[in-house]
């Protein structure tokens, strides 16, 4: 019930954000149903057709229905970004909590490694890594999750450091609880609000990152629909005054703005400020 109360009190900006994300989720969900007239790889007409009753947003550079591909793109891109973010968080939080609770050498070694990884521009690192392991979805997810987990590590370590000195953690230690138990039952619940907000922000970064890599031709591979790749495929249209490539690029912006609006609201609520 508390959730409903919170939702009822949410400001209009957060509601807009929720509507924007909801729209994307509905679009992604519809691709699992048999109601769509076309599939993501089906050629339905001429190249770069105008929007019409049959093709709501026109067609792309191979004559595939743009609206259908946009929905499939929502499914592919959001799904992969979510998995990557989740992996980055599991990795980052476990390492960060270990560093904070164990301290000493573990903390020193982990933190120095992370410092060096963070001194390296992520896009360049990802490009080098992908040139070595080749482009596949698994490689993409693992490489980006590793890179982004460094940022999660920093935050979760800092948050856990503050919680680790609390009396109740001390009490748990004196009770003889193991480190795993302390991390899971004492630190994690109390570190949740900043980590959840960070999850939203990281999701945006990772989502933009995957879109950028796909745009460069190194992310999600065709013919699977993906928003970044769709921009690249249709880029040629823009010089003929056809705005097709702006549609998927706009969809990326739309989703990130939506997530940012909700994160702003969440940070406001989590900080405990009353208006």
């Amino acid at each position: 019930m508390a959730v409903f109360k919170l939702l009822r009190q949410s400001p209009w900006s957060a509601r807009i954000g929720m509507a924007m994300i909801g729209l994307n989720i509905i679009a992604a969900a519809l691709t699992f149903t048999p109601f769509l007239p076309y599939t993501q790889t089906e050629v339905v007409g001429d190249v770069w057709l105008e929007a019409s009753r049959d093709n709501w947003l026109g067609t792309d550079h191979l004559g595939r229905d743009l609206f259908t591909r946009l929905m499939w793109g929502a499914r592919n891109t959001i799904f992969i970004a979510l998995i990557t973010t989740a992996l980055a968080f599991v990795l980052g939080i476990i390492c960060g909590f270990f560093a904070a609770t164990l301290g000493g050498w573990t903390d020193q070694i982990l933190s120095r490694i992370i410092d060096i990884l963070m001194a390296f521009p992520t896009l360049i690192f990802a490009l080098i890594a992908l040139s070595v392991v080749g482009t596949s979805i698994t490689a993409l997810v693992v490489v980006i999750a590793l890179l982004e987990s460094t940022r999660v590590y920093r935050l979760s370590r800092a948050v856990a450091m503050n919680i680790e000195v609390m009396e109740y953690v001390e009490a748990a230690r004196l009770r003889g609880e193991g480190i795993w138990w302390i991390m899971r039952r004492e630190i994690l619940p109390n570190a949740l609000p900043p980590l959840v907000a960070e999850f939203g922000l990281r999701f945006c970064f990772i989502f933009l990152f995957i879109a950028a890599l796909s745009f460069l031709g190194l992310g999600i591979q065709p013919p699977a629909a993906d928003w970044g790749g769709m921009v690249k495929e249709n880029a040629g249209a823009i010089t003929f005054g056809i705005l097709t490539p702006l549609v998927p690029a706009g969809a990326i912006a739309f989703l990130t703005v939506g997530v940012n609006l909700i994160v702003d609201w969440f940070l406001h609520v989590a900080s405990g400020l009353k208006d």
């Binding site: 521009p121 896009l123 360049i124 080098i128 070595v132 950028a212 460069l216 921009v231 880029a235 005054g241």
Partner: protein, 318 residues
């Protein structure tokens, strides 16, 4: 004063160490390639002679540690090896493109840095006014947009709807400076829009932070104009965070240029890196990756050193 030098040298030492570790990482990354590098790149059908030739070229038969030092030593002397794709020396490929990348990044910086500091000061001066809100909304949305979205909107508006600027920024050495600048106006605008948001918001925040201090109140009570208070009293004290964010964004400019270069088909290092990754041209990837990393690390280093120099409080760390 000696403490100051010590601090700066320590920071430079850290930067060098970081570079060294990054070079090891780049090297080991290629080393850790599953299976044999030669067969992985040449494909299953490669003849044994081809593979042997390839192994000799990349010196794959030497022990890894020796090979790392050979590679690093050659890199220091400017010998970057040969490209696998077209057999040309990597140094030759990279030098001209690196110059182009720096040219584009520098042009964007020349526009973006003064403009965003100016807008930041104005937003701090007229804070919470309509002007401030409009600017902060606009900058916030450019942060959420992918770079290529901004780029394609600019192309659609300024080179298709109204034909003012070229949508393909092809430059070569025979062009005059004016022609070159005209060719890169759109990528330059894209980069400016992307980095301005962050710099402007930080400048605004840093100045507003200072405005709460007693010495600002003193200046106001003396009856000094608001603009004068901000420019002469608040801004010099906000310099340290501002310099820091400017240097970070310059680093971002050089690295973030990759996508913009691809959009505008600009012959820069980023474009070369992306092409080489697709072709798995390992020597070119290693060399351009290392150069990008070096620029990024040294600009970050510069940011730290400058903030140590401009902020006396940081000279005596507790």
């Amino acid at each position: 004063m000696s403490g100051l030098y010590e601090l700066v040298f320590k920071r430079i030492g850290m930067g060098l160490l970081t570079m060294l570790v990054i070079s090891v990482l780049i090297f080991v990354g290629v080393e850790a390639l599953p299976g044999d590098l030669a067969t992985a790149i040449l494909g299953q059908e490669a003849t044994p002679e081809n593979v042997a030739q390839f192994r000799k070229e990349l010196k794959l038969d030497e022990p890894p540690v020796k090979r790392y030092f050979l590679w690093l030593g050659a890199f220091m002397r400017g010998d970057l090896g040969n490209s696998l794709a077209n057999r040309r020396p990597v140094a030759e490929l990279i030098f001209w493109r690196f110059k182009n990348t720096i040219f584009l990044a520098a042009c964007a910086a020349v526009v973006a840095v003064p403009l965003s500091i100016l807008l930041g000061i104005l937003a701090a001066l007229y804070r919470n006014s309509l002007f401030d809100r409009v600017i902060s909304m606009a900058t916030l949305s450019t942060i959420s947009f992918p770079e290529f979205f901004v780029a394609y909107i600019l192309i659609a508006l300024l080179s298709v709807q109204v034909i003012i600027f070229p949508s393909i920024s092809n430059i070569n050495d025979s062009m005059s400076l004016g022609q070159k600048i005209y060719a890169i106006i759109l990528p330059c605008m894209t980069l400016t829009l992307v980095v301005m948001a962050h710099m402007m918001r930080q400048t605004r925040a840093a100045i507003i932070n200072i405005l709460a201090s007693p010495f600002i109140e003193m200046a106001r009570l003396k009856g000094i104009q608001r603009l004068r208070v901000i420019v002469l009293h608040a801004f010099p004290n906000a310099l340290s965070p501002v310099i820091n964010v400017v240097a970070l964004n310059l680093a971002y400019l050089v690295v973030g240029v990759v996508i913009v270069e691809v959009v505008f088909v600009y012959p820069g290092l980023g474009q070369l890196l992306v092409d080489s990754v697709t072709k798995r041209d390992i020597p070119v990837v290693q060399a351009s990756g290392l150069i990008f990393a070096a620029v990024y690390v040294s600009l970050n280093l510069l940011a730290d050193v400058l903030s140590i120099l401009t902020n006396p409080r940081m000279r005596n760390p507790k």
